[in-house]
């Protein structure tokens, strides 16, 4: 129900005890450490170098874990995120820390193996593309680097067309004539190594003295050197490459086997990640300490209730000076404490903003309305019951899930209860599923009466009810403002800023209720007497005058003050839009019901009988799952909106900083204290 009172703590200890003290503090996890400001003699030290080193080691372990996940994925149940962290005793913790270097070695080993595997794979791919390129040269039974004999020169190359020997000779002769190289004619020999549809691989032999000229002509003819040129007979090279591929693959398999064997160290690796996380946190704290030659000083905030425990744990072990003072300042962090009913909504409040300095914690007031509005928007008894069932089961089955998750599930559990309640009031059970099933399959007309009324049949009644809920919600917001002003005895402000608004808005509403036109429009079955209306109008006018005169009281200049007051009075229009905003309660409530009915109707279109029943079941399950999803999201979003914009707009600013104690904030294990 409130913001926890905080204490400021100063701790002084000897440098030689620093490690021990910090570890104790991390284990206790209660101090939100702030930068130390102890004046002269104390200096800050930089730890960025250490932090970077730890980051690097941690990153290597994380990479190793990733590799393990790729080669031997961990078996995880669907609910692993609900299980919570594995516990680790401090004896186990100590023994694992001793094996730190060994495990880091394993991590580097894993990273090395992974790199080797990818290198080997790249080599195999490279080799097999070479084999492919050598294929057409397979028939060549001399080395590809053969350049000729004493008197002759030889070239290898490919034409990008298909020639046989005679065609090639003819083409060569023609080219020689064109290029005036008649001396070459008859003095060059073509040996076709292989040919396919669009290439011909040839070996050309000519006299050595004609080699240059010949090469020129050949280039003109379009001869290109082979893509791959190996030192040896192509066929032999192909066999050699194949052997190397096989070896590379074997080596890769072997490395893979080694990686799989190393997966036994997964737990240890995870621990090392946690260990470095904790060390990094610790070094970040060290940066905030003040250091003199032999002494260090630490300052921070903690909840008052934890002070005794802290003092005991510290002074028992080492020589240390601990002093507590009342927290007072702008940087005091905010921690909330609420009962089980309201606590689940602390997370929602946090997404808006935590209470600023001196502000009241609005969680409890918000909780009542939150559950109420949420249920009103979803308003289907079966949907609510499902929510209660699922959240309740998860909470019961996985008691060690993370705090944030637990809070969310509890919130939806309470919202589910409210949804069930409103579903019964408005008569929605999977929409009109029961009626539809009875009619389609059993040919019976069943009427399920809502406990109160059906919004689909009487939308105007529901609209009026929604707006009424809105007025109550807004007035409660104003009430919260009154409470927070009264708490600090600002009685005048309470009257000016709250009571006058109550008079104005309340009076105006009562006045409307005495008008025939309004009563007809809202189809109400009562009307207030004209005299009551007159009194209400008078109250409203008094409120309005009050606001006009007082709302600008921060200005000294009377003209400016009045102008400001009138401007504030103009803000009454925002009350109108605020109240109308609650019409979404009707719209979203109807949306749930109508969409549910649409799916029921779609399901029933296949008629009765077995086939009809199967089709109905499919449509029913898919449709209602979809509808729950959509409307759950809608109800969540719009309940938040009504809270944040309409409700908080009346009294709450927020701006508090979250209390973030120095503790073992780990990803895989939960370290036990003793």
């Amino acid at each position: 129900m409130a913001v926890l009172p905080m204490s400021r703590v100063n701790i002084f200890g000897l440098l030689k005890d620093r490690k021990k003290i910090l570890e104790t503090l991390q284990r206790l996890g209660v101090i939100d450490v702030k930068p130390f400001d102890g004046g002269d003699g104390f200096e800050k030290i930089e730890t960025a170098v250490f932090q970077a080193r730890f980051q690097k080691a941690k990153a290597e372990c994380e990479q190793a874990l990733e590799i393990l996940d790729r080669y031997s994925p961990e078996e995880k149940s669907m609910f692993s995120s609900l299980m919570g962290l594995e516990r680790m005793s401090s004896a186990e913790y100590e023994s694992r820390i001793k094996r730190r270097d060994e495990i880091l070695g394993k991590a580097s080993e894993l990273v090395r193996l992974e790199k080797e595997i990818s290198d080997l794979k790249a080599e195999a791919i490279n080799l097999s593309s070479n084999i492919e390129a050598l294929g057409p040269w397979k028939a060549l039974d001399i080395s590809m680097r053969f350049s000729g004999t004493k008197k002759t020169s030889a070239f290898l190359g490919t034409f990008s067309e298909s020639y046989d020997e005679s065609a090639l000779n003819l083409y060569f002769a023609e080219s020689c004539e064109k290029k005036n190289a008649l001396e070459l004619k008859e003095n060059v020999h073509f040996e076709i190594v292989s040919k396919s549809e669009n290439q011909t691989c040839v070996m050309v032999v000519c006299l050595k003295e004609l080699a240059n000229r010949c090469e020129e002509i050949l280039r003109y003819m379009g001869l290109v050197a082979p893509v791959v040129n190996v030192d040896g007979k192509p066929a032999e090279k192909i066999t050699e490459f194949e052997k190397r591929i096989k070896k590379a693959n074997e080596q890769a398999e072997e490395d893979k086997g080694k990686i799989l064997k190393l997966s036994a160290f997964r737990g240890e690796l995870k621990f090392i990640v946690d260990y470095f996380d904790m060390r990094i946190d610790k070094y970040q704290v060290i940066e905030r300490l003040g250091h003199s030659k032999r002494v260090f000083g630490l300052t921070g905030y903690l909840p008052k209730s934890d002070t005794e425990n802290l003092a005991e744990s510290l002074t028992g072990e080492v020589d240390v000076a601990v002093e507590f003072t009342d927290a007072d300042g702008d940087d005091v962090p905010v921690a909330l404490k609420n009962n089980g009913f309201a606590a689940p909504l602390e997370g929602v409040l946090e997404t808006f903003s935590l209470p600023g300095r001196g502000e009241v914690d609005p969680t409890s007031a918000m909780a009542v309305f939150y559950y109420f509005l949420f249920g009103l928007m979803l308003s289907d008894a079966a949907y609510g019951f499902l929510m209660v069932l699922l959240c309740g089961f998860a909470l019961w089955k996985f008691p060690r899930m993370k705090q944030g998750m637990k809070k969310s599930l509890k919130m939806f559990l309470y919202c589910g209860i409210s949804t069930t309640f409103w579903g019964v009031m408005f008569g929605g059970y999977f929409g009109d599923a029961i009626q539809v099933i009875a009619k389609t399959f059993f040919d019976k007309e069943i009427v399920i009466r809502p406990l109160w009324f059906s919004p689909m049949d009487e939308p105007m009644r529901m609209l009026v009810f929604s707006l009424l809920v809105g007025i109550i919600h807004l007035f409660a917001g104003l009430g919260m403002k009154f409470y927070s002003l009264a708490r600090t005895k600002q009685w005048k402000d309470a009257i000016y800023d709250v009571i006058f608004w109550y008079m104005l808005v309340g009076g105006a509403i009562v006045y409307l209720l005495s008008m025939q036109m309004f009563v007809d429009m809202a189809s109400l079955n009562f009307i207030l007497s004209p005299s009551a209306g007159k009194i209400a109008a008078l109250v409203a006018v008094l409120g309005a005058i009050g606001i006009a005169l007082t709302a600008g009281r921060s200005s000294k200049n009377p003209a400016k003050r009045l102008a400001k007051g009138l401007y504030e009075l103009y803000g009454v229009t925002s009350y109108l839009s605020d109240i109308l905003s609650y019409s979404r309660l009707l719209a979203l409530g109807l949306a749930t019901g109508v969409i549910a009915n649409v799916f029921n109707k779609m399901g029933s279109m296949f008629g009765g009988g077995i086939l009809g029943a199967i089709a109905f079941t499919i449509v029913f399950v898919v449709g209602h799952t979809l509808n729950i999803g959509i409307n759950l999201l809608g109800a969540y979003v719009h309940t938040n909106r009504l809270q944040f914009v309409e409700f908080f707009g009346k009294f709450y600013d927020g701006g508090g900083e979250k209390y973030a104690p120095f503790r073992a904030d780990t990803a895989y294990f939960e370290m036990e204290n003793k």
Binding site: V598, R641, V645
Partner: protein, 164 residues
């Protein structure tokens, strides 16, 4: 007179179609836009999937409201479920007009809401802790879709009572 009655039905059906059509188009465009932005965030940080998904879905509600109006209209005029009386031309036009707010406001608000959602996704990408505010920015736009829905519903439900 026969033709006139048919025309009334045609107008009413046109209204239902327009409501589902325009609001549906708006939501499809909107959810698509937000989805592109969300996918961009997830390439950088897959952990944010849950958060950006919620923001992506926000402009999707208009399509559902459009469907809702179309459905209520269809069951009022007897296309769904049957058993409705013949609809006069005046009544048909009234249904048509009643469907317009949802159709048009649905279309535009979904598109605009999508832009707010896209910005919200960018906000969540940088500061995941500000999720609540990102949702609120987008939800503010939806208010007007809800108001349109309300007017459409109230009009459609009120038409038979006019006895035209």
């Amino acid at each position: 007179m026969e033709i006139m009655n048919g025309l009334g039905m045609a107008f009413a059906l046109l209204g239902a179609a327009i409501s589902a059509l325009l609001a549906g188009i708006g939501s499809a465009v909107g959810v698509g836009m937000a989805g592109e932005a969300a996918a961009g965030v997830v390439t950088e940080d897959p952990q944010k999937f849950g958060k950006v998904l919620i923001l992506q879905l926000l402009p999707g509600t208009q399509g559902i409201y459009g469907l809702l109006i179309a459905f209520i209209t269809l069951s009022q005029i007897g296309v769904l479920g049957g058993g409705g009386d013949a609809i006069s031309l005046a009544e048909g036009i009234l249904y048509f007009v009643a469907c317009l707010p949802m159709g048009f406001v649905g279309l535009w608000s979904a598109k605009r809401q999508a832009r707010a959602a896209v910005s919200g996704i960018a906000l969540v990408a940088k500061r995941p802790d500000q999720m609540g505010k990102a949702i609120i920015f987008a939800a503010m736009v939806e208010t007007y879709a809800i108001l349109a829905l309300l007017i459409s519903i109230l009009s459609i439900v009120g038409i038979p009572a006019l006895g035209l």
